[in-house]
C-alpha cells in the first residue's frame, strides 16, 4: 500500500496579478506533483520557469489561483492551517542576509521556536542541536555580518531545523554563494536528508546540484516538462539545452562521444563514471 505523499499539488495554476510596472502573468500552469517523506527532490528550471512560484506554494506564501496544494493532509488555501503548515514545511531563501533577523546566531536560530511558543528550556536544547546539525556551533555568539555567505545560509537552515519541520524547501539557496559556500550548503542539506530524514525540495538552476537527488523535476513556462532520476533527466541533453539549462561538462561530452561512435551510456553524471566507462578496470 502506497503511503500518502507529504506534499501534493493537484492541477495547480497560479497567475500573478497585474501590478505597478508589471503585467499580470501566469507562472504555473496545471502543475501536478507528489513529494513523499524522506525524499530529496530537485526542481530545475531557468529564470521565469515558475520554480520559485512553485516553492512558495508549498508553505502557503502563495495559494493557487486554481487547483489545490495539500501539505501533510492540510489544504494550504485554508487560513487556519497556515501556521501549522509553516511549522511542518520550512523555507530557506536565496539572499543569505535577508533571512537573519537577530543580532547573534543563536538568537536567530531561536526565532522560529519562539514563534511557535516553545518553552525556553526546550528552545535552548533545539538551538544547540540545530547548530550542531549544520556544523555552526562554534559560531553561536557571532553577529551575522561577520559570517561568510555559506555560513549565513547554514545558520538560516539551522533556523528552520530548530522548528523540527518534516520538510525544508530551499529556493535557490546557493545562487549568491561562492563555490566553497555552495559546497557547504549542499553537504549540509544532503546530510540533513540522510541522517535526520528531513524531506528536501531543492530549487536550483545549477545542474551539478541535482546529481545527488532522488528525483528531478524540470520546469519550463510554468509546467513540469521532464521528470525522473538524475540520470534519466541528464540523458536528455538536447532538451535541456533547448530549455536553456546547462549540463555538466562530462554529460555533454558523453553525448558528443556517443554521436562519434564511442560506446558510453547516456546520462553520465560524474568524472568517475566517465573514467569507468572509458577505461573499464581489468
Amino acid at each position: 500500500m502506497k503511503t500518502e505523499p507529504l506534499i501534493r499539488f493537484s492541477n495547480v495554476s497560479f497567475t500573478y496579478a497585474k501590478g505597478p510596472g508589471r503585467e499580470g502573468w501566469q507562472a504555473l500552469q496545471d502543475v501536478s506533483l507528489e513529494v513523499y517523506e524522506h525524499e530529496f527532490v530537485a526542481v530545475l528550471g531557468r529564470n521565469g520557469s515558475g520554480k520559485s512560484t512553485l516553492a512558495k506554494h508549498v508553505n502557503a506564501l502563495l495559494t493557487p489561483t486554481s487547483g489545490q496544494v495539500v501539505v501533510a493532509g492540510l489544504d494550504t488555501s485554508v487560513p487556519e492551517h497556515v501556521w501549522e503548515i509553516r511549522q511542518k514545511v520550512g523555507m530557506v531563501f536565496q539572499n543569505p542576509d535577508n533571512q537573519l533577523v537577530a543580532t547573534t546566531v543563536e538568537e536567530d536560530v531561536a526565532f522560529g521556536p519562539e514563534n511557535l511558543g516553545i518553552p525556553p528550556a526546550e528552545i535552548q536544547r533545539r538551538v544547540t542541536e540545530a547548530l550542531a546539525a549544520v556544523d555552526m556551533l562554534p559560531y553561536r555568539l557571532h553577529p551575522p555580518h561577520r559570517l561568510s555567505g555559506g555560513q549565513k545560509q547554514r545558520v538560516a537552515i539551522a533556523g528552520i531545523v530548530s522548528m523540527r519541520p518534516k520538510c525544508i524547501v530551499l529556493d535557490e539557496p546557493t545562487a549568491m554563494l561562492d563555490p566553497a559556500g555552495r559546497r557547504e550548503v549542499m553537504r549540509t542539506i544532503h546530510r540533513l536528508n540522510r541522517e535526520e530524514g528531513i524531506t528536501v525540495l531543492h530549487i536550483t538552476h545549477h545542474m551539478d546540484e541535482v546529481i545527488g537527488a532522488d528525483r528531478v523535476l524540470v520546469m519550463d513556462q510554468g509546467r513540469i516538462v521532464l521528470e525522473g532520476s538524475p540520470r534519466e533527466v541528464f540523458s536528455q541533453v538536447e532538451l535541456l539545452r533547448e530549455l536553456h539549462l546547462d549540463v555538466p561538462q562530462v554529460t555533454d561530452l558523453g553525448q558528443r562521444l556517443r554521436k562519434r561512435g564511442v560506446n558510453v551510456p547516456p546520462g553520465i553524471l560524474t568524472v568517475n563514471e566517465m573514467v569507468m566507462h572509458l577505461c573499464p578496470s581489468d
Binding site: 501556521w83 509553516r86 543580532t103 526565532f111 519562539e114 528552520i160 522548528m163
Partner: protein, 264 residues
Amino acid sequence: MRFRNLTIGQHIPGDSIVHRLDPRTKILGTVLLIVLLFSVDGFVGYAMAGLAIALVIHLSELPWRYVIRGLRPLMVILLLTVGLNLFLTEGEPLFRLWFLTITKQGLVRGLMMGVRLVLLIMGTSLLTLTTSPIQLTDGIETLLSPFRRIGVPAHELAMMMTIALRFIPTLLEETEKIMKAQMARGADFQSGGLMQRAKNLIPLLVPLFVSAFRRADELAIAMEARGYRGGEGRTKFRELRFGRMDAVAMVLSVVYTVVVGVLF
C-alpha cells in the same frame, strides 16, 4: 574602511557584578540617575551623584578611559551648553571679553550645567558599556510589556530595535560598496559646497534606500515563513531573571536617589 571600527552600542563584554545585573535593573537605575541629576541643586548634590557613578564604574571593572571616551562625540554640545550659560546669564559681571560678559552667576550656572551633562553622559555610557544590545532590547521589552494593555507596542518596538541593530553593520558595508561603484564612474563625494555635496549624495542614497526596502520585504517574508505573527503567543529564548543582587541594587538606588534628591 572608516566604518569598520564602529562598535555598535560600545558594549564591552565582562563578568563584573554590574555586567551580571538584570538589564531592567540597569535601565531603571539609569532612569533614577537622570531623575536625581535633575532634582539636585548645588555642587554638593552633583558631587553625591558623581560619587554614585564612580562607585558603579569601580564595580564594573571597566577602565576609566572607556567611560571618558563616551564624552568625546558630545564635546561640541558640552562646550556649547557651558558657553551659552557662561555668556548669556544676567548678573554680577566678573570679566569682560570683547563684547561678551562673564557674570558670577553665569560662571556658576555654566559649570553646573557642564557637570550635570558630563554625569548624564557618563551614566548612560555605563548602561551601554555593561549591557549588550540584546539585553537592552529584552530589558526594554519586558519593562514595557505591562503597558501593552494600554496600547504600548512593547514587542514591536523591541523587534524593530533588534532588526535595526542587526542591519546597521550590513547597511554600512553596503554603503561602502555603493560609494565605490559610483566613484568608479567618476562620482565625487568630497568636493563642493554644502548644496553640491548634498546633490552628489543622490547616487548613494537612492540605491541604498531601494536596497533597504527590498531587504525589508524579503525579511518580512522570511519571518512569516518561520511562523512569525506578532507578539501573541511568543516565548523568549532568553528569560530575564531578577537575582538577589538586582534587588539589593534596586533598593539602594531608590533610597539613595530619594535621600540625596530631597536633601540636596
